[in-house]
């Protein structure tokens, strides 16, 4: 049992984490001030000594404090980490669901019809490589609402992987299965839902998984731009406060939430997977 692979891997992970934190802790020890402070330094309250990357012990202490009260709200500049993450998740999920509602049906049509594929392909190829943040000024001008603009940016960045994967999955459904539908006189709608959708579902889910990953990457940058609320704004705000404890803590939280989003879609992917 003790020799089992997962156990040994977990053990190794813990050793690596301890090593990493140990090195980090040792590397950022506050240097003893040997000389007397200059007048300038005294005026600045010895700020240079404090401007350093905090050791992991401080970060963990801070994280414990934040996580024990995640939903406090003391005005626009001081909200709990739970509230900030909830804002970001709300924007990501709204933009993402809207994108899925549009990308999957269009991807279906594009995948089914070579004509539509060739007609839409140039647009997709041009629009796809545009950084979603490049849309932000246009979105702000047209929508005139920063909240909705952030959602629009998420929408525009999640749409492409889903659209392309859906089209690819639908176009590559095995001809035999289509023939099964044809010999059973299935209507176009039934063929779409009973044969093509389940056959293409794993590929579609792959697209959805890529999209949620990109959306979570983009929301941080988008919120740094639009400000107000959200985890991206929080990171930038704490940088302006020179509170590196909070910055490092929120970086870790972004990673954890991103992992959970990916895990939930991986779970969904398992449900629709099949072996030939």
């Amino acid at each position: 049992m003790i020799q089992s692979m997962p156990f040994r891997a977990a053990l190794l992970s813990i050793v690596m984490a301890v090593l990493m934190f140990g090195v980090w802790e040792a590397a950022v020890v506050t240097p003893e001030k040997s000389t007397e402070m200059t007048e300038y330094e005294m005026l600045m309250g010895g700020a240079d000594q404090e401007a350093r990357v905090p050791p992991p012990s401080d970060v963990l202490k801070h994280a414990w404090g934040e996580l024990s009260d995640p939903f406090y709200d003391k005005g626009p500049n001081d909200k709990g980490i739970g509230i900030q993450l909830a804002y970001s998740l709300y924007r990501v999920l709204t933009g993402y669901v809207l994108a899925a509602l549009i990308a999957i049906p269009i991807g279906f049509v594009v995948g089914m019809s070579p004509l539509m594929y060739n007609a839409l392909n140039p647009f997709i190829q041009i629009l796809r490589p545009i950084s979603p943040l490049a849309w932000m000024p246009l979105a702000l001008f047209i929508i005139q609402d920063s909240e909705t603009s952030a959602i629009f940016v998420i929408f525009i960045c999640s749409i492409w992987p889903m659209l392309i994967n859906t089209a690819f999955g639908v176009a590559n459904v095995r001809g035999d299965w289509i023939n099964v539908a044809r010999t059973h006189e299935l209507s176009a709608l039934r063929t779409a839902f009973q044969v093509i959708l389940p056959a293409a579902a794993p590929t579609i889910l792959t697209g959805m998984r890529i999209s949620i990953g990109i959306a979570w990457l983009v929301i941080v940058a988008a919120e740094m731009l639009v400000g107000g609320t959200g985890i991206g704004y929080y990171v930038w705000n704490e940088w302006n406060n020179l509170d590196l404890n909070s910055v490092i803590f929120s970086i870790l939280m972004i990673g954890c939430v991103g992992m959970l989003l990916d895990l939930s879609l991986a779970r969904a992917q398992k449900l629709v997977e099949y072996n030939e």
């Binding site: 010999t183 059973h184 056959a199």
Partner: protein
């Protein structure tokens, strides 16, 4: 005009090649099937057997000619013509039972859930799969998958069943077992079956008639050989039937030596042959084949369509 159940007339398949020439796979294919008949078609690769079968199914459009079933021209696929594909074509995300129910539900849309289930289970029992109802196709062996496919096709009770080399990918032992199951299920339902095979023994075991195709390009159904061996036939005893080897030799001889010849009859109708018609008098099988087959060209076979 004959009143056959299925009539194929002047069927042709022509592909345009890159050089702009026409490549004729087959042309002027004519034959008829009677209701309840089991017909196998044998020929070398490339002669267009599968294309003929797909045209009967309505999955492939002919370049010329027509297929008439029950007085109506075949245009597109239909539930009246069930197909068993060589690669099984089961839907891999559905269980064995759901795959059969898929066909049954498509056939009888107003059936209740329990009736669909009962009907599907009955046909899966017929092929001996009652223990594997909830398994996915990927968890089944090739032979079991093909059984599911056969159960699905028979369960929808089409008027014409088209089997495209259903046992081609199976090993000899599995093949034998499923052949017997096919005989059993067919003897219960007596559907009209049109089947492609490469196996002469399989064709003799199953068929009422065997179509022999000449080689492509410009292939044609050269002969329609009557299998004059009484039913019920058993795989382990059929080779003791009088005339079995005579018939087998006749078929093998055609495939090995004569399939490259162009049929001398240009009417497009396959020549009706019964290698066993003079059986009692013949002592030397090889000599008898050639003589008998000449005599048998216009025998009193009930399906003879020669004018």
């Amino acid at each position: 005009m004959s009143k056959a159940f299925l009539e194929v007339s002047g069927l042709a398949k022509v592909y345009a090649t890159k050089e702009g020439n026409d490549f004729t796979v087959y042309e002027d294919v004519n034959f008829t099937l009677d209701k309840g008949e089991f017909v196998c078609i044998i020929g070398h690769s490339g002669c267009g057997k599968s294309t003929i079968l797909n045209t009967l199914a309505g999955l492939d459009d002919p370049s010329g000619g027509a297929v008439i079933m029950n007085g109506k021209e075949v245009k597109g696929p239909s539930l009246e013509r069930g197909v068993v594909f060589q690669n099984y074509s089961l839907l891999p995300w559905l269980s064995t039972l759901s795959n059969v129910e898929f066909g049954v539900k498509a056939r009888w849309k107003d059936w209740s859930k329990s009736k669909v289930r009962e009907h599907s289970t009955r046909f899966l029992n017929m092929v001996g799969l009652e223990h594997a109802l909830n398994r996915k196709p990927s968890e089944l062996s090739g032979g079991m998958r093909q059984r599911v496919s056969i159960a699905r096709a028979f369960a929808t009770q089409p008027e014409l069943l088209l089997l495209d080399e259903p046992f081609g990918a199976l090993d000899a032992l599995t093949r034998g077992v499923i052949q017997e199951e096919l005989v059993k299920i067919w003897s219960e339902t007596h559907q009209t079956v049109f089947m492609i095979t490469h196996d002469v023994d399989e064709a003799i075991l199953l068929s009422d008639r065997i179509f022999l195709m000449s080689n492509g390009p410009n292939a044609a159904i050269a002969e329609s050989v009557k299998v004059d061996i009484p039913r019920p036939r058993q795989r382990n005893t059929i080779f003791q039937q009088p005339g079995y080897y005579q018939l087998r030799n006749y078929l093998v001889n055609f495939l090995v030596n004569r399939s490259a010849e162009k049929p001398e009859d240009t009417s497009g109708k396959p020549k009706e042959v019964n290698p066993l018609s003079g059986l009692e008098t013949s002592s030397a099988p090889d000599a008898a084949i050639s003589e008998d087959s000449v005599q048998a060209q216009n025998n009193e076979h009930p399906l003879a369509v020669n004018q």
